[in-house]
């Protein structure tokens, strides 16, 4: 059964999406990156990816937990193909429009290069037919894929996933395999991109491994989680993780370490903000202010050329002072807003963040903070026997970042599972009742602000020592927003979530000021952040790696809404699934 209405709707959406990514110049800039040597570029992957995903979505039908969707690759393929055809035609019309009319005055990307990119440089009539055919075929494949057997799906997705990962993360892979230069030359073409046969081998290997070791991964996770049998195993897993963290920076080069450090700073700030927003439920949009306190505090205390007052302390002595300053700043921001709730709090903190930046920039305080010139010549972190370590030494600096991330994670973990963590949870839900239970919400809120501020000051202190100069433009509101996005996408209240969120968003897509591993994204990262945020809010509000509490908070209702179906009242989620499958 093909749902033609669904085909039409999603065909149009897919066509719109393809036209949109073309219109903003994404396809063109992605085309500069070759993934598989002759001809398969990231731009092509984008087009194919969109087509395949929409084909799959249409074939999958409307999700309904009570009815198992029929899985049939023929009708799936047809539905996908029809969707693709519509999308292809819509996109072609768009390209034709761009080719015919000159609107580049308003839409700077809608010019000749766009047409070339979308027609594979074959010119309008032929290229558009090819585009439509390619999109149709890919969407059909995506639709058919939905109906394939589980083992085929697993193998195929692993194979594609690995090939794409090897191609996208060429930089990391070739740095890790640096010791075996000939191997790198075998896998990658001299001017970038996987060699075609290397792609085939990687894909085949991934497929073979997925069938060979089917289910082993899950079984292993189960074993590790098992409290008794897993305890020794767990220890070795942790040991392995620690070893990997220690060794990784040594084998990857400067660029990757640099990215890891930036991600690390955002992990730190994410963990801090997670306490404020995720645990205590206080929406703080001016969090960057505490990062600024840490950075400027360290700069003034350590730099010999701090304008007004230059004690020239060692980083290690400056750190506790900076922490105290940040704690005071936390109290300073927290106290006046303690009685505010929700939206008001967000707006006021947003204002605070900007006030801090503007003050730092102001003529009035230029004698202290250096105004637009900022503060320069900030020394690195002195280490006995190793001189001072700064950003010019990313391979060593990364360890300091790790250390503080670990500390912040430990603080978060302890806070979360303690009495104060419970009082935050209660306050997040109902402030009045929390008070009636004896929780002093004033104290609880201030404690959240202060803890968050101190953790952000770690990031600030590291940042100063790393880059050696601080300017106000490193502290604008975008930073606050991006940290918040990291927390939301990763999973509010979840430490693992923040770590993964920061690695993916900052490390791979890029931070507010710096490109990530996939530099192609940097122009579009705000767009992607926004899209990701909307998607997450709609489909997975608990985040990528949610905390146990959050996912229960957000999803428990789904089960119990259907509880009336079960007369005994002893409803469990499993019984509904059983009914559905039989």
């Amino acid at each position: 059964m093909i749902d033609l209405k669904r085909v039409r709707t999603f065909g149009l959406i897919a066509g719109g999406t393809l036209s949109f990514v073309a219109a903003i110049g994404m396809v063109e800039s992605f085309n500069e990156r070759t993934l598989i040597n002759p001809g398969i570029t990231m731009g092509l992957l984008l087009i194919l990816g969109i087509a395949a995903v929409f084909g799959y979505i249409v074939a999958a039908g409307k999700p309904n937990p009570l009815v198992e969707t029929a899985r049939d690759s023929r009708s799936g393929g047809i539905a996908g193909g029809l969707t693709g055809a519509i999308a292809g035609v819509v996109t072609s019309l768009f390209v034709l429009f761009v080719d015919t009319f000159d609107v580049s005055e308003f839409f700077p990307n809608m010019r000749e290069p766009l047409v070339e990119a979308m027609t594979f440089e074959l010119g309008v009539p032929v290229g558009l037919l090819v585009l439509t055919a390619v999109v149709t075929a890919t969407a059909a494949a995506g639709g058919a894929f939905h109906g394939m057997s589980d083992s085929f799906r697993a193998g195929m997705s692993r194979a594609l996933g690995w090939v794409v990962a090897f191609a996208l993360f060429e930089l990391v892979v070739s740095e890790i395999l640096d010791f075996a230069d000939p191997l790198v030359d075998l896998i990658y073409a001299p001017r970038g991109g996987l060699q075609p046969w290397a792609a085939v081998i990687i894909g085949a290997l991934a497929w073979w491994l997925s069938t060979r070791y089917k289910g082993r991964g899950e079984a292993f996770t189960e074993r590790v989680k098992d409290s008794e049998a897993g305890s020794r195993l767990r220890r070795s897993v942790i040991l392995f993780g620690v070893a990997a963290v220690i060794i990784l920076p040594m084998i990857v080069g400067g660029v990757v370490n640099e990215l890891l450090i930036t991600s690390g700073l955002f992990i730190l700030m994410g963990l801090g903000l997670n306490i404020v927003v995720g645990l205590a439920g206080l929406l703080d949009l001016g969090y960057v202010a505490f990062f600024a306190v840490g950075a400027y505090g360290t700069a003034i205390l350590t730099s010999p050329s701090s304008p007004a007052f230059a004690p020239g302390l060692s980083w290690w002595i400056a750190l506790p002072i900076v922490m105290v300053l940040a704690a005071i700043a936390g109290l300073f921001v927290g106290t006046p807003v303690i009685r505010m709730r929700g939206d008001y709090l967000a707006i006021v903190t947003l204002g605070f963040g900007e006030i801090v930046r503007i003050l730092l920039l102001s003529d009035w305080l230029t004698p202290i903070f250096g105004g637009a010139q900022g503060i320069t010549r900030i020394p690195g972190i002195p280490v006995p026997g190793a001189g001072t370590i700064s950003g010019t030494d990313p391979q060593l600096f990364i360890y300091f970042t790790f250390m503080f991330v670990l500390l912040a994670a430990y603080i978060s973990y302890r806070a979360q599972n303690s009495r104060i963590g419970r009082s935050w949870a209660a306050m997040r839900e109902d402030e009045d009742v929390a008070e009636a239970i004896g929780i002093s919400t004033v104290q609880a809120k201030l404690l959240a602000f202060v803890t968050g501020a101190v953790i952000a000051s770690f990031a600030g202190a590291l940042f100063s020592a790393k880059v050696g100069t601080v300017f106000t433009n490193s502290f604008d509101v975008l930073v606050s927003i991006i940290i918040l996005v990291v927390v939301i996408v990763g999973g509010m209240g979840s430490i693992r979530g923040v770590v993964v969120g920061a690695l993916v968003l900052i490390g791979i897509l890029g931070g507010p000021k710096s490109p990530g591993l996939l530099a192609e994204f940097s122009e579009f990262k705000l767009l992607i952040y926004g899209a990701l945020l909307v998607y997450m809010m709609l489909k997975r509000p608990e985040g990528l790696l949610p905390s146990v509490r959050r996912s229960r908070e957000l999803h428990g209702e789904d089960l119990t809404q259907d509880a009336w179906l079960d007369k005994g009242g002893d409803f469990t989620g499993d019984s509904a699934e059983e009914e559905a499958t039989t």
Binding site: V433, A436, I437, T441, E557
Partner: protein
């Protein structure tokens, strides 16, 4: 009896919401071990009275005393620390937490103490709660929520238990059951101050009662006295 210090008292309390005068010269005295009820129609100021006891609302004049000490300026949490706990209007459980967590957080002011006897007590009063420990509180039925709300309050081992309309939204059988339990809690030594519209029910178990009308205490007598009072019978006990 009157020579003792009341555990809870209002001395000439006036409260305002903005310019609106709600409580007008209210005097209340509640002694240890008593069961007192506050009766009154909608919007008469019953909830406001409880909010004033806990400090959500500060009196514009007059005093709130706990064990004879003026606490009018204390923050809520500190008053709770003095052994006053409330079962709020509409229960207001932490809906996203489990029943167990709701009970656990009820004992927030007793960190590190062994709570097993408290759980046992709650389960003895409300056997159903024990079956629902892992369930999310927001998904409980209204009756069950009332039980958990009372359980949560009891976990604090309060000296004085304030209850805001415990019968609201419950079936008559449940209301009767509930009041029986309140009576048991009171007999076990907890002072209870219960706000009710269901005057018959409340007076059947209370020692004394106050009647509030547009913010003024208009009657103040023993339960028997109030039940026999003709004015009372007409206005609140549904007789003509």
């Amino acid at each position: 009896m009157t020579s003792r210090t009341p555990v809870l008292s209002f001395k000439g309390v006036n409260t305002h919401y903005g310019a609106v005068h709600i409580l007008k010269d209210v005097d209340i005295d509640i002694y240890a071990g008593e069961m007192v009820s506050l009766l009154g129609g909608n919007a008469s100021g019953k909830t406001t009275t409880l909010k004033t006891i806990l400090g959500y609302v500060k009196p514009t004049s007059g005093q709130v005393l706990l064990d004879g000490e003026d606490v009018s300026d204390w923050p809520t949490a500190e008053r709770v620390g003095r052994g006053v706990t409330m079962v709020p209007e509409n229960r207001r459980l932490f809906k996203r937490m489990t029943v167990k967590e709701n009970l656990e957080i009820g004992a927030y002011l007793r960190p590190g103490e062994d709570l097993s006897s408290d759980y046992d007590r709650v389960f003895e009063l409300f056997p159903r709660v024990k079956e629902r420990l892992a369930q999310k509180a927001g998904t409980l039925s209204g009756g069950e929520q009332q039980m958990v709300a009372m359980g949560r309050a009891l976990m604090a081992r309060p000296k004085v238990l304030l209850m805001d309309e415990p019968s609201m939204g419950l079936a008559p059988v449940l209301v009767a059951q509930n009041f029986e339990i309140i009576e048991r809690i009171n007999k076990a030594g907890t002072t209870v101050f219960v706000v009710e519209q269901n005057a018959n029910m409340a007076l059947s178990i209370a020692d004394r009662g106050y009647v509030l009308q547009t913010g003024k205490i208009v009657l103040d007598d023993t339960a028997e006295g109030l039940l026999a009072n003709p004015q009372m019978r007409q206005a609140y006990l549904g007789e003509v």
